[in-house]
Symmetry: C2
Subunit: 149 residues, 2 copies
Protein backbone atom coordinates (compact mmCIF):
# COMPACT_ATOMS: atom_id res chain seq x y z
CA UNK A 1 0.00 0.00 0.00
CA UNK A 2 2.33 2.67 1.23
CA UNK A 3 6.00 2.44 2.14
CA UNK A 4 7.58 3.75 5.30
CA UNK A 5 7.94 7.50 5.29
CA UNK A 6 11.52 8.68 5.04
CA UNK A 7 12.79 12.20 4.53
CA UNK A 8 13.50 11.33 0.92
CA UNK A 9 10.14 9.80 0.20
CA UNK A 10 8.34 12.77 1.67
CA UNK A 11 10.44 15.16 -0.41
CA UNK A 12 9.39 13.24 -3.48
CA UNK A 13 5.79 13.40 -2.40
CA UNK A 14 6.06 17.18 -2.19
CA UNK A 15 7.72 17.39 -5.59
CA UNK A 16 5.06 15.17 -7.15
CA UNK A 17 2.42 17.56 -5.92
CA UNK A 18 4.51 20.38 -7.41
CA UNK A 19 5.33 21.90 -4.09
CA UNK A 20 8.77 23.45 -3.97
CA UNK A 21 11.36 21.99 -1.67
CA UNK A 22 12.46 25.05 0.26
CA UNK A 23 14.92 25.00 3.16
CA UNK A 24 12.11 26.11 5.50
CA UNK A 25 9.96 23.15 4.57
CA UNK A 26 12.88 20.78 4.92
CA UNK A 27 13.69 22.10 8.36
CA UNK A 28 10.11 21.74 9.54
CA UNK A 29 9.92 18.25 8.14
CA UNK A 30 13.16 17.29 9.89
CA UNK A 31 11.72 18.57 13.15
CA UNK A 32 8.86 16.12 12.90
CA UNK A 33 11.14 13.26 11.92
CA UNK A 34 13.16 14.00 15.06
CA UNK A 35 9.97 14.19 17.16
CA UNK A 36 7.98 11.30 15.82
CA UNK A 37 6.02 10.83 19.03
CA UNK A 38 5.26 14.45 19.78
CA UNK A 39 2.08 16.40 19.29
CA UNK A 40 3.49 19.80 18.48
CA UNK A 41 1.66 23.09 18.19
CA UNK A 42 2.59 25.61 15.50
CA UNK A 43 4.28 27.76 18.12
CA UNK A 44 6.32 24.81 19.37
CA UNK A 45 7.40 23.91 15.85
CA UNK A 46 8.30 27.54 15.31
CA UNK A 47 10.52 27.55 18.41
CA UNK A 48 12.25 24.30 17.46
CA UNK A 49 12.81 25.39 13.91
CA UNK A 50 14.10 28.82 14.83
CA UNK A 51 17.23 27.28 16.35
CA UNK A 52 18.32 26.04 12.97
CA UNK A 53 16.93 28.86 10.92
CA UNK A 54 16.25 32.06 12.89
CA UNK A 55 14.95 33.82 9.80
CA UNK A 56 11.89 31.64 9.51
CA UNK A 57 8.48 33.22 10.06
CA UNK A 58 5.56 31.88 12.02
CA UNK A 59 3.29 32.26 9.00
CA UNK A 60 5.54 29.95 7.03
CA UNK A 61 5.27 27.37 9.78
CA UNK A 62 1.48 27.54 9.61
CA UNK A 63 1.50 27.30 5.84
CA UNK A 64 3.86 24.34 5.84
CA UNK A 65 1.88 22.50 8.51
CA UNK A 66 -1.20 22.94 6.36
CA UNK A 67 0.51 21.43 3.35
CA UNK A 68 2.04 18.52 5.25
CA UNK A 69 -1.33 17.72 6.78
CA UNK A 70 -3.03 17.99 3.43
CA UNK A 71 -0.75 15.44 1.81
CA UNK A 72 -1.06 13.09 4.76
CA UNK A 73 2.39 13.50 6.29
CA UNK A 74 1.03 15.06 9.44
CA UNK A 75 -2.19 14.60 11.37
CA UNK A 76 -3.85 17.71 12.74
CA UNK A 77 -5.33 17.23 16.20
CA UNK A 78 -7.48 19.27 18.51
CA UNK A 79 -6.95 18.38 22.14
CA UNK A 80 -9.05 21.22 23.44
CA UNK A 81 -6.19 23.43 24.56
CA UNK A 82 -7.03 26.16 22.11
CA UNK A 83 -4.41 25.35 19.51
CA UNK A 84 -3.98 22.74 16.82
CA UNK A 85 -1.40 20.05 17.43
CA UNK A 86 0.35 18.10 14.72
CA UNK A 87 1.85 14.64 14.85
CA UNK A 88 3.84 12.68 12.35
CA UNK A 89 1.58 10.21 10.58
CA UNK A 90 3.40 6.88 10.58
CA UNK A 91 1.84 5.06 7.67
CA UNK A 92 -1.65 3.71 7.33
CA UNK A 93 -4.07 6.57 7.41
CA UNK A 94 -7.12 4.47 7.59
CA UNK A 95 -6.61 2.63 10.79
CA UNK A 96 -5.75 5.31 13.22
CA UNK A 97 -5.24 5.54 16.93
CA UNK A 98 -6.87 7.42 19.77
CA UNK A 99 -5.43 9.74 22.36
CA UNK A 100 -5.13 9.70 26.11
CA UNK A 101 -4.82 13.29 27.27
CA UNK A 102 -3.51 13.94 30.76
CA UNK A 103 -5.32 16.75 32.53
CA UNK A 104 -2.39 17.07 34.90
CA UNK A 105 0.69 17.53 32.74
CA UNK A 106 -0.93 17.80 29.33
CA UNK A 107 0.98 14.85 27.96
CA UNK A 108 -0.63 12.88 25.17
CA UNK A 109 -0.21 9.17 24.74
CA UNK A 110 -1.67 6.91 22.14
CA UNK A 111 -3.90 3.95 22.09
CA UNK A 112 -4.68 1.55 19.28
CA UNK A 113 -7.99 -0.13 19.03
CA UNK A 114 -10.31 -1.92 16.69
CA UNK A 115 -13.49 -1.70 18.70
CA UNK A 116 -14.75 1.34 16.86
CA UNK A 117 -15.00 -0.46 13.55
CA UNK A 118 -17.88 -2.59 14.79
CA UNK A 119 -19.46 0.43 16.43
CA UNK A 120 -19.40 2.24 13.11
CA UNK A 121 -21.36 -0.55 11.49
CA UNK A 122 -24.08 -0.16 14.08
CA UNK A 123 -24.25 3.58 13.58
CA UNK A 124 -24.45 3.35 9.81
CA UNK A 125 -27.39 1.01 10.07
CA UNK A 126 -29.21 2.68 12.92
CA UNK A 127 -28.69 6.34 12.02
CA UNK A 128 -28.31 6.17 8.26
CA UNK A 129 -25.13 8.13 8.68
CA UNK A 130 -22.21 7.58 6.32
CA UNK A 131 -19.09 7.69 8.48
CA UNK A 132 -15.86 8.94 7.00
CA UNK A 133 -13.83 9.52 10.11
CA UNK A 134 -13.92 9.34 13.85
CA UNK A 135 -12.18 11.00 16.73
CA UNK A 136 -11.92 9.45 20.17
CA UNK A 137 -10.22 11.08 23.11
CA UNK A 138 -9.88 10.07 26.73
CA UNK A 139 -9.24 12.67 29.40
CA UNK A 140 -7.80 11.76 32.76
CA UNK A 141 -4.56 11.41 34.66
CA UNK A 142 -1.47 9.58 33.50
CA UNK A 143 0.56 7.28 35.68
CA UNK A 144 2.92 10.08 36.74
CA UNK A 145 0.19 12.52 37.67
CA UNK A 146 -1.82 9.95 39.61
CA UNK A 147 -5.14 10.77 41.14
CA UNK A 148 -5.65 14.35 42.16
CA UNK A 149 -4.85 17.39 40.06
Amino acid sequence: MEEVKTFESICNLLRNRSYKLTPQRQTILQTFLENVDSHLSAEEVYMLVKHQNPEIGLATVYRTLDILAEIGILLKNDFGDGRSRYEFSRQDEHHHHHHLICLGCGSVSEFDDDLLESLEAVIIKRNHFKILDHDLKFYGYCEKCGEAP
Copy 2:
Protein backbone atom coordinates in the same frame (compact mmCIF):
# COMPACT_ATOMS: atom_id res chain seq x y z
CA MET B 1 -29.35 10.69 42.10
CA GLU B 2 -30.53 13.74 40.29
CA GLU B 3 -34.06 14.79 39.39
CA VAL B 4 -35.25 15.99 36.01
CA LYS B 5 -34.08 19.50 35.27
CA THR B 6 -36.84 22.06 35.23
CA PHE B 7 -36.57 25.81 35.06
CA GLU B 8 -37.32 25.99 38.77
CA SER B 9 -34.81 23.37 39.81
CA ILE B 10 -32.08 25.04 37.81
CA CYS B 11 -32.90 28.40 39.37
CA ASN B 12 -32.52 26.80 42.77
CA LEU B 13 -29.23 25.30 41.72
CA LEU B 14 -28.00 28.77 40.79
CA ARG B 15 -29.19 30.23 44.07
CA ASN B 16 -27.55 27.44 46.05
CA ARG B 17 -24.27 28.29 44.44
CA SER B 18 -24.91 31.93 45.33
CA TYR B 19 -25.28 33.07 41.78
CA LYS B 20 -27.81 35.82 41.33
CA LEU B 21 -30.90 35.12 39.30
CA THR B 22 -30.81 37.96 36.80
CA PRO B 23 -33.29 38.38 33.94
CA GLN B 24 -30.43 37.81 31.46
CA ARG B 25 -29.60 34.46 32.98
CA GLN B 26 -33.23 33.46 33.03
CA THR B 27 -33.66 34.34 29.38
CA ILE B 28 -30.61 32.35 28.35
CA LEU B 29 -31.76 29.41 30.39
CA GLN B 30 -35.22 29.56 28.79
CA THR B 31 -33.59 29.52 25.38
CA PHE B 32 -31.94 26.21 26.13
CA LEU B 33 -35.12 24.75 27.59
CA GLU B 34 -36.85 25.65 24.33
CA ASN B 35 -34.00 24.17 22.28
CA VAL B 36 -33.26 20.99 24.16
CA ASP B 37 -31.86 19.21 21.13
CA SER B 38 -29.73 22.01 19.73
CA HIS B 39 -26.01 22.56 19.88
CA LEU B 40 -25.88 26.32 20.03
CA SER B 41 -22.87 28.57 19.71
CA ALA B 42 -22.56 31.68 21.87
CA GLU B 43 -23.39 33.82 18.87
CA GLU B 44 -26.52 31.79 18.16
CA VAL B 45 -27.65 32.05 21.77
CA TYR B 46 -27.00 35.77 21.58
CA MET B 47 -29.21 36.12 18.51
CA LEU B 48 -32.04 34.08 20.03
CA VAL B 49 -31.88 35.92 23.31
CA LYS B 50 -31.76 39.36 21.73
CA HIS B 51 -35.33 38.95 20.48
CA GLN B 52 -36.62 38.89 24.01
CA ASN B 53 -34.10 41.23 25.52
CA PRO B 54 -32.32 43.46 22.99
CA GLU B 55 -30.25 45.06 25.72
CA ILE B 56 -28.28 41.94 26.46
CA GLY B 57 -24.56 41.89 25.67
CA LEU B 58 -22.54 39.14 24.05
CA ALA B 59 -20.13 39.10 26.97
CA THR B 60 -22.99 38.31 29.32
CA VAL B 61 -23.94 35.38 27.12
CA TYR B 62 -20.41 34.04 27.30
CA ARG B 63 -20.29 34.51 31.06
CA THR B 64 -23.63 32.80 31.57
CA LEU B 65 -22.74 29.87 29.34
CA ASP B 66 -19.60 29.42 31.42
CA ILE B 67 -21.59 29.31 34.62
CA LEU B 68 -24.26 26.96 33.30
CA ALA B 69 -21.61 24.61 31.99
CA GLU B 70 -19.72 24.76 35.26
CA ILE B 71 -22.73 23.69 37.31
CA GLY B 72 -23.59 20.93 34.86
CA ILE B 73 -26.67 22.43 33.22
CA LEU B 74 -24.99 22.70 29.85
CA LEU B 75 -22.36 20.64 28.10
CA LYS B 76 -19.68 22.49 26.20
CA ASN B 77 -18.71 20.85 22.92
CA ASP B 78 -16.07 21.37 20.32
CA PHE B 79 -17.12 20.14 16.91
CA GLY B 80 -14.12 21.60 15.16
CA ASP B 81 -15.89 24.53 13.57
CA GLY B 82 -13.91 27.09 15.52
CA ARG B 83 -16.48 27.91 18.14
CA SER B 84 -17.79 26.22 21.26
CA ARG B 85 -21.25 24.75 21.10
CA TYR B 86 -23.47 24.20 24.11
CA GLU B 87 -26.25 21.69 24.60
CA PHE B 88 -28.70 21.19 27.41
CA SER B 89 -27.54 18.38 29.64
CA ARG B 90 -30.53 16.14 30.22
CA GLN B 91 -29.72 14.45 33.48
CA ASP B 92 -27.08 11.87 34.19
CA GLU B 93 -23.70 13.40 33.61
CA HIS B 94 -21.83 10.19 33.85
CA HIS B 95 -23.29 8.22 31.02
CA HIS B 96 -23.11 10.53 28.11
CA HIS B 97 -23.65 10.26 24.41
CA HIS B 98 -21.54 10.77 21.32
CA HIS B 99 -21.99 12.96 18.29
CA LEU B 100 -22.46 12.37 14.61
CA ILE B 101 -21.32 15.49 12.80
CA CYS B 102 -22.41 15.97 9.20
CA LEU B 103 -19.69 17.41 7.01
CA GLY B 104 -22.34 18.49 4.53
CA CYS B 105 -24.84 20.56 6.47
CA GLY B 106 -23.11 20.74 9.83
CA SER B 107 -26.00 19.15 11.66
CA VAL B 108 -25.21 17.23 14.81
CA SER B 109 -27.10 14.16 15.89
CA GLU B 110 -26.58 12.01 18.91
CA PHE B 111 -25.76 8.45 19.58
CA ASP B 112 -25.93 6.50 22.80
CA ASP B 113 -23.59 3.67 23.46
CA ASP B 114 -22.10 1.55 26.17
CA LEU B 115 -19.22 0.07 24.27
CA LEU B 116 -16.74 2.61 25.56
CA GLU B 117 -17.13 1.49 29.15
CA SER B 118 -15.43 -1.79 28.43
CA LEU B 119 -12.81 -0.06 26.35
CA GLU B 120 -12.01 2.20 29.28
CA ALA B 121 -11.34 -0.80 31.48
CA VAL B 122 -8.79 -2.05 28.98
CA ILE B 123 -7.07 1.31 28.81
CA ILE B 124 -6.87 1.71 32.55
CA LYS B 125 -5.18 -1.63 32.84
CA ARG B 126 -2.93 -1.41 29.84
CA ASN B 127 -1.85 2.22 30.03
CA HIS B 128 -2.15 2.91 33.74
CA PHE B 129 -4.25 5.91 32.83
CA LYS B 130 -7.04 7.04 35.11
CA ILE B 131 -9.91 8.02 32.82
CA LEU B 132 -12.28 10.76 33.92
CA ASP B 133 -14.00 11.56 30.66
CA HIS B 134 -14.12 10.66 27.02
CA ASP B 135 -15.13 12.32 23.83
CA LEU B 136 -16.14 10.42 20.72
CA LYS B 137 -17.15 12.04 17.48
CA PHE B 138 -18.00 10.62 14.10
CA TYR B 139 -17.64 12.72 10.97
CA GLY B 140 -19.48 11.91 7.79
CA TYR B 141 -22.68 12.58 5.89
CA CYS B 142 -26.18 12.43 7.25
CA GLU B 143 -29.08 10.82 5.46
CA LYS B 144 -30.11 14.10 3.82
CA CYS B 145 -26.66 14.99 2.55
CA GLY B 146 -26.01 11.53 1.17
CA GLU B 147 -22.70 10.59 -0.34
CA ALA B 148 -20.77 13.37 -1.97
CA PRO B 149 -20.28 16.83 -0.51
